[in-house]
């Protein structure tokens, strides 16, 4: 009998996510973000969160919706442009922001998912990112020691999933979703299409179900596009 991770919906999935916790949210820009869970977090009104995510959404979508309700105490991200409310909270000191290189963000997630306590990266050497951090030289090149993230929840969005928790992503919506899925103490996956075990090709699975604690089929995906660019 295969282990079943299915929960009813986003509300059920985040039921025990509480004030003051640290959460990871997958996505790059608005691509591959867990829309249903973000909506549920906004509805639940959970506060004082530390959010780890590459971006902070835009004013009226993605993590921007949580910022608007002042649910976020601290944001750890690599790029936070194009968000007026974010800017206001940052400048007023309401929001604590830690900006880190995008690769460092990915590797600190990966480290957590691989049971590595820390990793070495050359990104940020000689910059303010290196301040207060251990620098070590290997083979003539300097590296920063960066520690694994420790997140209470990771919330990711996949294209397809099965009730055993196996996930498949589409195109560039994969981004941070894989490494965050592997990094959460509790990982919640929302998927566009949830199927029974055996319906996904085991060879094509991007994240094995062992990393996933709760999974549900989301609904009403808006999948907003930040920069629609077309060629004639």
């Amino acid at each position: 009998m295969m282990i079943n991770k299915q929960v009813k919906n986003a509300e059920a999935a985040i039921d025990d996510l509480n004030d003051g916790q640290t959460i990871m949210l997958g996505g790059f820009g608005l691509c591959g973000i867990p829309e249903n869970c973000i909506a549920a977090l906004v509805k639940k009104g959970v506060n004082n969160l530390t959010c780890i995510s590459n971006n902070a959404g835009v004013d009226d979508f993605g993590i921007g919706l949580m910022l608007h309700q002042k649910q976020v105490k601290k944001m750890i991200a690599s790029y936070v442009g194009e968000n007026a409310e974010f800017e206001r909270q940052l400048l007023s000191g309401e929001l604590d922001v830690e900006l880190i290189p995008q690769g460092t963000l990915a590797f600190r997630c990966m480290a957590a998912g691989y049971g590595m306590p820390a990793i070495y990266t050359p990104a940020g050497i000689g910059t303010e990112v290196a301040i207060g951090k251990e620098v070590r030289n290997f083979n003539g090149k300097d590296y920063l020691l960066e520690t694994a993230f420790n997140a209470d929840f990771a919330i990711v969005k996949a294209w397809k999933g099965d009730t055993a928790g196996n996930l498949i992503f589409k195109a560039t919506s994969r981004n941070f979703n894989t490494v965050m899925a592997m990094a959460g103490k509790i990982t919640i996956a929302e998927v566009e299409e949830l199927v029974e075990p055996g319906q996904l090709d085991p060879n094509q699975i991007h994240v094995p179900g062992v990393y996933i604690h709760r999974i549900f089929q989301g609904s009403h995906y808006e999948k907003r596009i930040e920069q629609k660019t077309v060629s004639k």
Binding site: M2, I3, Y114, G115, N166, E196, G209, V210
Partner: protein, 219 residues
Amino acid sequence: MLDKEAIAKRIAKEIQHNSYVNLGIGIPTLVANYIPKNIAVCFQSENGLLGMGPFPKEADVDADLINAGKQTITMLPGAALFDSAMSFGMIHAQKIDLTILGAMEVSENGDIANWKIPGKMVKGMGGAMDLVASAKNIIVAMQHVNKNGESKLLTNCTLPLTGIRCVKKIVTELAVLAVLPEGGFKLLERAPGVSVEDIKKATLGKLIIEGEIPEMAFD
């Protein structure tokens, strides 16, 4: 005294519902045959598979689908394939709930030796050092004494170690024992027909016996 199948059957009772389990070569492999139908369990093979199924029918043998013991196997619905790095990543990140493996020696503080006998052939540790360094729960399946009649439950291991302070429970042909966090083998159950005295004789490390020791139940 239990035979290998009975040891495997007793260990199967330790497997909890909704758990991910890595089975070593030998007796541990047999454990899969005794999982109750109502228990959801997913077996990991550290060469890159979750959801390992039984051996294939002759017609379904696939050279590209083997377990960590190099045996041809099958996948169950819901299985997932991955590479060796992700496999040991999930082991080190403690995503695997239980590891069951064999041992040459276990010490009373939970050290385990199972990969090398100096002077004899060294086959290598394979994935054992990774598994014992990280598993949340480790159960050892082994004979209580070696071929020379010497106890394999020792104060300190004499063979090169595979890992330290990691074994939580031991199931042998004679007994079920817990390795206590503060050290010592706590006798939990006797095999049918085996006396506490028999177990005392076969155990060189510190044996802790409190109250009546029940006989194993198998139902």
